[in-house]
């Protein structure tokens, strides 16, 4: 059902998206883009668009922060589109069926990040030799590695699901509790992102502001302002931040530098 040219094109797109997820535009790889692109390759751009949009909404807020990897949207998004167009699953089922591949992608990233740690000694060597070309090459190599790993994962995915046994099995998973659990877990990944941000930024005196932000979002949601919520949150947040900055600068100047930002209770 997938011709060889189509397969090659999908692998090329995967290669690019894998790199783009951390480099270059850091946006091409998003499901809302990959969905229609893969859809177009497979001859059904409309379905691709629908899957891409749905996947995008599902994973909104699950971003890598400080390097923490949620289930991977690149492999996930591409495979969901393949499921919908080729296996004919409906959008929801396609989303569910793609979860194991998203986990595979997550694993691929973690693997690359671990392997690349080993190459840092090599980088130090190039630095010691004042050899810029070596640094350049090392970076290119890492991107190629990630791209190839992802293309490989997608290849395995595409081939296996065109195999009737596998695809029957996967379809049968729809509505299964494991899939339900993976989806639920997928939705929870963003909390890791939030927690990491809090570890970075939240000083002891800022717990209140965290809960205040929560409260504001709750109000906006209940008032039917879910859409512009974040813009309005930013408005209020900027007011608070500017005020905080000005007051603390005033305090510092008043006190000849001895005071300044308090260190919490």
């Amino acid at each position: 059902m997938i011709g060889p040219l189509q397969l090659v094109l999908i692998l090329v797109v995967t290669f690019i998206a894998a790199i783009d997820q951390f480099n270059f535009l850091e946006s091409l790889y998003q499901p809302i883009v990959m969905g229609p692109v893969v859809g177009a390759i497979l001859g059904d751009i409309t379905t691709g668009l629908a899957v891409g949009g749905a996947y995008q909404l599902m994973q909104i807020g699950s971003m890598p922060v400080g390097g923490a990897q949620p289930p991977n949207a690149v492999v996930g998004g591409i495979m969901a589109t393949v499921f919908a167009v080729v296996s004919g699953l409906d959008v929801n089922a396609a989303l569910g069926a793609s979860v194991p591949f998203a986990l595979l992608g997550q694993y691929g990233v973690t693997l690359t990040f671990t392997l690349m740690s080993g190459l840092m000694a090599k980088a130090d060597e190039e630095a010691a030799n004042a050899n810029p070309a070596g640094i350049v090459k090392l970076n290119y190599f890492a991107m190629a590695l990630l791209g190839l790993l992802f293309a490989g994962a997608t290849l395995v995915g595409v081939i296996s699901i065109t195999n009737p046994t596998v695809s029957d099995f996967i379809s049968s998973l729809d509505g299964n509790w494991i899939m339900g659990g993976l989806s639920a877990a997928g939705g929870m990944m963003r909390y890791v992102g939030f927690a990491v941000l809090m570890r970075i930024m939240l000083a002891d005196d800022m717990w209140g502001i965290y809960f205040a932000g929560f409260a504001l979002a709750a109000i906006l949601g209940a008032a039917g302002l879910g859409g512009p919520a974040l813009v309005l949150v930013a408005f209020v947040g900027i007011a608070i931040a500017l005020y905080d900055y000005n007051i603390n600068v005033s305090i510092k100047n008043a006190g000849g530098g001895s005071g300044g930002v308090s260190d919490g209770i």
Binding site: I19, V33, L49, A68, W177, G181, S183, G193, A218, G237
Partner: protein, 288 residues
């Protein structure tokens, strides 16, 4: 690798970098995370980004080596804001500042910019643009992906360019500005970030409880009861739990992700989490 050289050999300030070199580095900044890894994160990508500048500044091989060396130390910030750090560091390199000074400035800038950038770009700009266009996509509007790419990247490139020029031009003044009120600035920026993260916890809370029991005529809907206590109580609790594990128990994020996977799957086995599936253990019947 912490370099053991503290001053450059050649202490004559280099000529200011030309536009072409600055532009080139803006483009290279797009590949900051090319060789991302768990040991030094963006270190090698960062060095790749500023190499064109360093090569112009350090004509002397020994100095270039020293500079490359200390610019390979651990580095991590938000990719879109990296050009701000680039500008400052390059202006210090050009003036042949002490290496410990350069290091201190680099480290001081990368932390807060990382947090702020994540809050603003990954958790605010991206959800807004991708969210709106994803809804357009669901309505079959083929413009959606293009609109997303254009808006998102116009912002990205504007930020990258502007910060590079602004911080390099300000040169040492930027550092002066940044360092004089650095504590206050970081505090304020963190307040903004924390406020936004609080809002995100509520706004993107994606975990619901499925349990509902028929009780005579009426239905006891657990999620409904929780909403009456506090909307998004479950996402808030889970976030605080993960925060606690990371902060107090020193868990790695990978361990937290693993825990959430387990919680997700075991919960689904018992039909706890919302969603369209059949639990393994059906200890209650969903009311019709």
């Amino acid at each position: 690798m912490v370099s053991n050289v503290n001053t450059y050999k050649d202490l004559t300030p280099a000529r200011p970098l030309d536009r072409a070199t600055l532009n080139k580095m803006v483009w290279r900044s797009l590949f900051l995370q090319a060789s991302f890894n768990y040991e030094r994160m963006q270190a090698a990508g960062w060095l790749y980004g500023i190499l064109p500048g360093l090569e112009k500044i350090h004509t002397n091989k020994e100095d270039l080596s020293a500079s490359m060396g200390h610019n390979l130390e651990f580095f991590n910030t938000h990719p879109f804001l990296v050009t701000f750090v680039m500008g400052i560091v390059l202006s210090l390199e050009q003036q042949k500042a002490d290496i410990p000074t350069i290091r201190a400035v680099r480290v001081a800038a990368m932390g807060p910019l990382g947090g702020i950038g994540d809050a603003i770009f990954w958790f605010t700009l991206l959800p807004i643009t991708a969210g709106i266009t994803a809804n357009m996509a669901l309505e079959g509007n083929i413009i959606a992906p293009f609109l997303f790419l254009v808006v998102f990247n116009v912002v990205q490139f504007a930020v990258r360019y502007w910060l590079m020029y602004w911080s390099y031009d300000l040169g040492t003044t930027a550092i002066e500005v940044l360092t004089r009120n650095a504590k206050e600035f970081t505090h304020a920026a963190s307040m903004l970030g924390v406020f936004v993260v609080g809002a995100l916890t509520c706004n993107y809370g994606a975990t619901t409880i499925r349990i509902a029991l028929q009780n005579g005529e009426s239905v006891i809907d657990v999620q409904g009861i929780l909403d009456g206590v506090l909307p998004q109580l479950v996402p808030l609790s889970l976030t605080l739990m993960v925060y606690f594990l990371i902060k107090k128990k020193g868990w790695s994020t990978i361990k937290c992700i693993g825990l959430l996977l387990v919680i997700g799957i075991i919960g689904a086995a018992f039909g706890i989490w919302g969603g369209n599936y059949t639990p393994l253990v059906e200890w209650y019947t969903l009311p019709a």
